[in-house]
């Protein structure tokens, strides 16, 4: 089981809230594709011979590229690593790029899952976020994708927008349900350093984010999706049974993944790498075959902490037997002890046989709880 992530670091314009690495310029587009293909070659042994179960094109805005270019990368990856039959191959796309012609072209590639960056079906929300598409465009993109046979569809939505309200949020959820979209990623608006959003808020141009509003909308989301029969399989992800994102799930279950492209992250089971977050430096490093990433080799403690942090966010929870077997008795006893108060007094955690899970209320406090379960060297 291994995954490949391809980072396409280009956008038409930067959204106000986004702190992923991307540039809103057309320069170096071809060079970047070449470099990504070359990086695949350079790092062909990274996965230790494991074949690819998932491929994910993220960004940035991968839909800026012609589907043919995407297919080039897929073919290269297949040649170097081997893509297993039936593998999940996802492409992130923005509504403004999704038209009939483009979808037809995409249909002829190996991409079999589409993730649309809708963010909201409301125009005021979209302006607040600095998106370039309209609510109408978002909806037509969804409709068109479904019509063209991309049933394996995911949309992204953002809640907790200060200028918005619960009603708008509810109607966004209802749109997902109306189109019976299989997969939803719902993110709380988060003010990241270095973003325009942060600047606007600091300057008083935008209202600050209201945690209470976000909490309320998250609760609404959980209850609506549950009613509609969706699995809340990760804090920010919902799906109809059997349709979770295999690629993203692999991040949370400790599988290996190779990330190529500027700023992409990789994990080989023991260490994590992240590529340089600079287009020119990235291209140069690949050309000269120089190291292009920073690296962190994980200690036992770090592996345990990461396992706790990621597993707790999923509906599969923390496997206590796995903790005992993989990390040892000390970690196991620590975990049991630290989890106790959250189970008994506050009902934020529940133990299900040998699995430790967040309750619905606990999902609102996942960070606090996982940090409490961490091991401190």
């Amino acid at each position: 089981m291994a995954g490949l992530y391809v980072h396409i670091p280009f956008c038409r314009q930067k959204c106000h809230y986004c702190n992923f690495y991307s540039v809103a310029s057309g320069k170096f587009r071809d060079e970047t594709i070449d470099a990504i293909v070359n990086e695949l070659e350079i790092r062909k042994d990274y996965l230790g011979g494991e074949r690819l179960n998932t491929v994910y094109f993220g960004g940035g805005t991968p839909s800026l590229f012609a589907p043919g270019k995407i297919q080039e990368i897929i073919l290269k990856a297949d040649k170097l690593f081997g893509i297993v039959p039936g593998a999940e191959i996802t492409l992130e796309a923005n509504p403004e790029d999704i038209g009939s012609t483009w979808l037809d072209a995409l249909k002829s590639t190996s991409v079999n899952r589409l993730s649309i960056g809708v963010q909201s079906f409301n125009n005021a929300d979209l302006r607040y976020l600095g998106r370039i598409h309209t609510a109408e465009k978002a909806e037509s993109a969804v409709r068109l994708a479904l019509e063209k046979g991309f049933e394996n569809l995911s949309v992204d939505l953002i809640f907790g927008i200060p200028a918005s309200d619960d009603k708008i949020w509810e109607s966004n959820i209802l749109k997902v349900l109306q189109y019976n979209i299989r997969h939803l990623s719902a993110y709380a608006l988060t003010v990241e350093p270095g973003t325009a959003l942060r600047l606007f808020i600091r300057k008083g141009k935008y209202q600050p984010v209201d945690e209470d509003q976000a909490a309320g909308q998250f609760e609404m989301l959980m209850s609506r999706m549950k009613q509609a029969g969706y699995d809340h399989y990760e804090i920010s992800n919902f799906c109809l049974p059997g349709h979770c994102s295999k690629h993203n799930t692999s991040y949370w279950t400790g599988d290996k993944y190779l990330g190529v492209g500027p700023a992409a992250h990789s994990y080989d089971g023991n260490s994590r790498q992240w590529n340089v977050a600079n287009l020119k430096k990235y291209i140069e490093a690949v050309e000269k075959n120089e190291p292009l990433s920073e690296k962190e080799t994980l200690t036992g403690t770090q592996k345990y902490n990461e396992y706790v942090m990621t597993a707790l966010r999923t509906m599969w929870g923390i496997d206590l037997e796995k903790v005992k077997n993989e990390f040892g008795e000390d970690f196991y006893l620590h975990l049991i002890k630290e989890a106790k108060p959250f189970e008994n007094n506050q009902h934020l955690l529940k133990k299900n046989q040998r699995i430790l899970l967040l309750t619905d209320r606990g999902k609102l406090f996942a960070d606090k709880i996982s940090s409490a379960l961490f091991w401190n060297d």
Binding site: Y5, D212, I235, S236, A264, Y267, N305, S371, F374, N376
Partner: protein
């Protein structure tokens, strides 16, 4: 004896005392180039960084000169004095060991409050004052103005003031000549019974306590059996000698000399500054006057951040006490903070120094609680107890009255700031005692104030309202009855013992309200509402609520970047470890110092 000169230096912080002292040592070739470090007299790191001499030291110089057509050689003993209000008793003992003093004034800044109070001490002890105008090399020196101030202050002749620069060495020869010519040689009878004044001591891990003394009468030899009058303890003088850059042992020292004695003493508690050393056989008839038991005036709890470090903290405090006898401590426990110590300090700076030394020299992470002064509580039966801790107050129905320490505060400022300074002092229950114009735009204000009122942020306030111009000095003058109440802070109904304060009843309401407001800022939101209340006895006088947090979860796309999120949560975990639990409420350490940060 006629070629000995014993002198000290009186100067305000930053007026260049240490640099000028270095030049004197250079000029007299007391230190070689190799030994030369900057400001050799300040040998603790902390002292060097703060630019103040915390503990006094002494050094002997030999000054050779040609005068009246013959070569003369003089022994100059420089007794360094600590430069802060908290150590005024030590300063007075150093001054008592001298016949003269250099009054160093920064030519760019003029006289400051602390200079004045130490100067008065020196004049009280009949010291010959040699005024020196330092930093004459600076462009913004205003020698004529500052000379006016000096002439007004000590009534000297204008020509007696020596212009100098510690930086360039300008005027150093004139200073040395003035020391020799103006300061009288010591008097005293070398054949009388031994009478020596201890003015300082230091701890040496190999040799124990080294006590510094000045002999007024008689002589002392190696191997003598001596007695310390105040403590009544007897020792054999294992080694005596004079203080060069290091110790230089001697067989005998006599009246007028400044030297050291090593006698196998293990802790600084046995050596009291101001004590008299005499012989066991043939003792002097009376001790040197002016000895006092130094009593700590400010108390605070010191607790290890990590409860497991309690024993280590104790060991560190014991080591600190070895060379700082003015630090006192006794075990104390707090429901909120666990086990720690109630510590007594001479003043606020002393407290800060101890905290910093615990951090630097012992790598101890500590929480210091709200400081309070030493109160005297009288019960209805007429029994007096000293109260060092709000919870140590006798039960309300047994209590007759409380007395609190008062200080005499001297403030020197530009006259522009007199109004705000007066307001500040009056707000702090001060009573104006005197107001004198030193020059047309510099004024000296004397207030009587409760010590408790300067324990919290008084000095910072004073500095800010005077744009940094005001200088401040104080000494304790006695106790007066006070109407005090104990103000408690409750979190979700639970009293936080470490946040209780004794406070004047007139200020209690306002103080309680501000405490609640400040704590509201400092206590993070939890999963439930946290009620912060201020109470006097059973009566709640103020309340704030920290609303429950609704969520604590990262609900955003962080893709494969697991590292960043893990590090964030690991940091949170560390931060939480430093939190204290009061009932079900998590309280950050900063909250325990909230009272010091009220504005």
């Amino acid at each position: 004896m006629k070629n000995i000169r014993n002198f000290c230096i009186i100067a305000h912080i930053d007026h260049g005392k240490s640099t000028l002292a270095d030049r004197l040592l250079d000029y007299t070739e007391t230190i070689s180039e190799r030994e030369k470090k900057e400001q050799v007299l300040d040998d603790m790191d902390l002292e060097r960084e703060r630019g103040i001499t915390i503990k006094s030291h002494a050094i002997q110089m030999i000054y050779k000169r040609e005068a009246h057509n013959r070569n003369e050689s003089f022994v100059l003993n420089l007794i360094d004095t600590p430069g802060h209000v908290d150590f005024s008793y030590e300063v007075s003992r150093s001054i008592a060991a001298c016949e003269g003093a250099l009054l160093i004034v920064d030519a760019t800044q003029g006289i400051q409050a602390q200079t004045i109070s130490n100067l008065y001490l020196a004049i009280d002890h009949d010291l010959e004052i040699i005024p020196v105008l330092n930093k004459m090399d600076l462009d913004n020196a205003m020698p004529e103005d500052v000379k006016d101030q000096i002439v007004d202050l000590i009534g000297c002749d204008r020509e007696d003031i020596i212009e100098a620069s510690g930086k360039t060495g300008y005027g150093v020869d004139k200073i040395l000549d003035a020391i020799v010519e103006r300061i009288p040689s010591p008097t005293g009878d070398p054949d009388a019974p031994l009478q020596a004044l201890i003015f300082d001591s230091v701890f040496n891990s190999y040799r124990g306590i080294i006590a510094y003394f000045r002999i007024f009468n008689g002589r002392i030899s190696k191997g003598d059996l001596v007695k310390f009058v105040a403590t009544g303890k007897e020792y054999e003088a294992d080694e005596i000698g004079v203080l060069k850059l290091g110790l230089q042992s001697k067989k005998t020292l006599a009246a007028g000399d400044v030297g050291y004695i090593i006698s196998g003493i293990k802790t600084s508690k046995e050596v009291k500054v101001g004590d008299t050393v005499t012989h066991v056989k043939n003792p002097c008839s009376e001790a040197i006057s002016g000895f006092e038991h130094v009593k700590p005036m400010v108390f605070a709890g010191i607790y290890p951040v990590d409860a497991d470090d309690y024993e280590e903290l104790r060991a560190s405090m014991e080591k600190l006490q070895l060379n700082d006898a003015s630090l006192t401590f006794e075990p104390e426990s707090s429901a909120a903070l666990g086990f720690g110590f109630r510590c007594g300090f001479l003043g606020l700076l002393h407290m800060e120094i101890i905290q910093e030394r615990l951090d630097r020299e012992f790598d101890m992470d500590v929480i210091t609680t709200v400081p309070n002064v030493s109160y005297k509580a009288y019960t209805t039966k007429g029994v007096m107890t000293e109260v060092h801790n709000p919870s140590g107050l006798p039960d309300q129905n047994l209590l007759d009255h409380i007395e609190e320490p008062y200080i005499h505060a001297q403030i020197i400022s530009k006259s522009d700031y007199v109004g705000p300074i007066m307001n500040l002092c009056i707000d702090r229950r001060g009573e104006l005692k005197n107001q004198v114009y030193l020059t047309s735009d510099r004024v000296e204000i004397t207030f009587e104030l409760p010590l408790a009122e300067i324990v919290f942020d008084f000095y910072d306030k004073l500095k800010s309202i005077s744009k940094g111009y005001a200088s401040f000095d104080y000494h304790v003058v006695g106790y007066k009855p006070a109407k005090l109440v104990r103000l408690d802070i409750l979190l979700n109904g639970e009293r936080v013992d470490a946040l209780s304060t004794l406070i004047h009843s007139a200020n209690a309401y306002q103080f309680g309200r501000r405490m609640c407001e400040k704590l509201k800022e400092l206590i993070p939101r939890q999963q439930f509402d946290v009620a912060i209340q201020a109470a006097i006895g059973a009566k709640i006088i103020a309340r704030e609520t920290v609303k429950a947090v609704r969520k604590d979860v990262t609900a955003k796309c962080y893709g494969g970047d697991i590292t960043r999120k893990r590090k964030l949560l690991e940091k949170q975990k560390k931060g939480k470890k430093r939190m204290r639990q009061v009932g079900n409420v998590e309280v950050p350490q900063s909250a325990f110092l909230a009272v010091l940060k009220l504005d």
